[in-house]
């Protein structure tokens, strides 16, 4: 009887976390679908088959590098070149993953591995703004549901783009290019309203990123440096924050 009650409570805690994760991941889905469809269309035009372009979404799950990969395949770049460019562009996820895992220390390794594999700019940004879930019972379910929502919509969108091809008017798909930026802004602004110093950290990162690009660095390294060096300003700016 007692163990039954405990089991029931645990199931409902998991269920609650899953629902909450899906709801929190919903804006990512909205941001991903148009971008993924655009990727699908582009990849198809660059000569990839529907299987190949969907498989890339399943196995890579990193928007910007997939666009780049499809482009480089289209212009006939070499495999090694494409793979190195992908590494450079996605290395920022190492930094994000380290920050994410540092918050999720209490979560078991068997959860940590799939959670880091599903880490993108968007899933990281949303997860990192919900650090309190990691301390709750069944908190890992929250992050897993959030990431899975994003992952499945990314795969589905890519597939759809590959199928639809040119049906979507260019002007509309181009307008949707703003979607992910708008989501990043929509995530950042409420944090800035709560704590102005957070905005300062973001501005420092923007300036460093811009400077790096002006100096002729690739987008990938510029974002890595902007994030790492910009984050350094937090060593001073977040001093009063309790651990």
């Amino acid at each position: 009887m007692v163990s039954d009650a405990v089991k029931k409570r645990k199931t409902s805690a998991s269920l609650h976390m899953i629902q909450k994760g899906i709801a929190t991941g919903f804006p990512i889905m909205l941001g991903y679908l148009p971008i993924a469809v655009t990727y699908g269309v582009l990849a198809k035009q660059s000569g990839m088959t529907l299987t190949e372009l969907t498989l890339m979404s399943v196995m890579v799950f990193a928007g910007a590098s997939q666009f780049m990969g499809a482009n480089m395949i289209a212009v006939g770049a070499g495999a090694v070149e494409i793979i190195i460019a992908t590494f450079v562009l996605n290395f920022r996820h190492f930094v994000m993953s380290l920050a994410f895992m540092n918050r999720l220390r209490t979560v078991e390794l068997k959860w940590k591995i799939p959670l880091t594999l599903g880490l993108t700019d968007e899933t990281f940004a949303v997860s990192a703004l919900h650090p309190e879930e990691s301390k709750k019972e069944k908190g890992a379910y929250f992050y897993a549901a959030l990431i899975l929502t994003a992952y499945l919509s990314w795969i589905f969108g890519s597939f759809l783009g590959g199928v639809l091809g040119e049906v979507i008017p260019e002007r509309l798909s181009q307008s949707m290019g703003i979607a992910l930026y708008a989501m990043f802004i929509g995530l950042l602004v409420p944090s800035v309203k709560k704590e102005l110093r957070v905005g300062l950290i973001a501005i420092v990162a923007m300036l460093i990123n811009t400077l790096c690009i002006q100096l002729g660095m690739s987008t990938g390294w510029a974002i890595v440096l902007g994030t790492v060096l910009g984050g350094m300003s937090g060593i001073y700016l977040l001093k009063e924050e309790r651990p």
Binding site: P27, L30, G31, E52, L55, M59, V60, F61, S65, G69, I73, A79, V80, I82, I84, F87, H93, M96, S97, L98, A99, M101, N102, R105, K112, I113, T116, D121, A125, A128, R171, Q174, S175, M176, G177, I178, Y181, A182, M183, I185, G186, L188, V189, S191, G199, A202, V204, A205, M206, T210, I223, G226, T227, G230, G231, S233, G234, I235, L238, E241
Partner: protein
């Protein structure tokens, strides 16, 4: 050939992502490193937003900027992220007509 590229891209992306899962338990960070890592989400958002937002329409950087400003306003007045995204898409769409 394309399959080999996909597998290579996958490894190049997944390995840097997963390494922190294995090493974080072995590391004990000093307080200032924790503050650094806690600032990473905000720094990352900043670096991802700008100057990338100006490339939404590569030849017309002001369109992306205006879309971004619309997003800031909508987020500032407290709208849900979903509405912020829809509003910004609408703004860019209207501008490019």
């Amino acid at each position: 050939m394309i399959f080999a590229i996909i597998i290579g891209m996958s490894l190049a992306t997944m390995i840097p992502r997963v390494i922190p899962a294995f090493i974080v338990d072995k590391l004990q960070f000093r307080e200032w490193v924790n503050r650094w890592l806690n600032a990473i989400p905000y720094a990352a958002l900043g670096a991802l937003i700008f100057p990338g937002v100006t490339t939404v329409k590569p030849d017309e950087p002001h369109i992306g900027l205006i879309g971004g400003i619309v997003a800031i306003i909508l987020a500032y007045i407290g709208l849900n992220v979903i509405l912020v995204v829809i509003g910004a898409i609408a703004a860019v769409f209207l501008l490019s007509i």
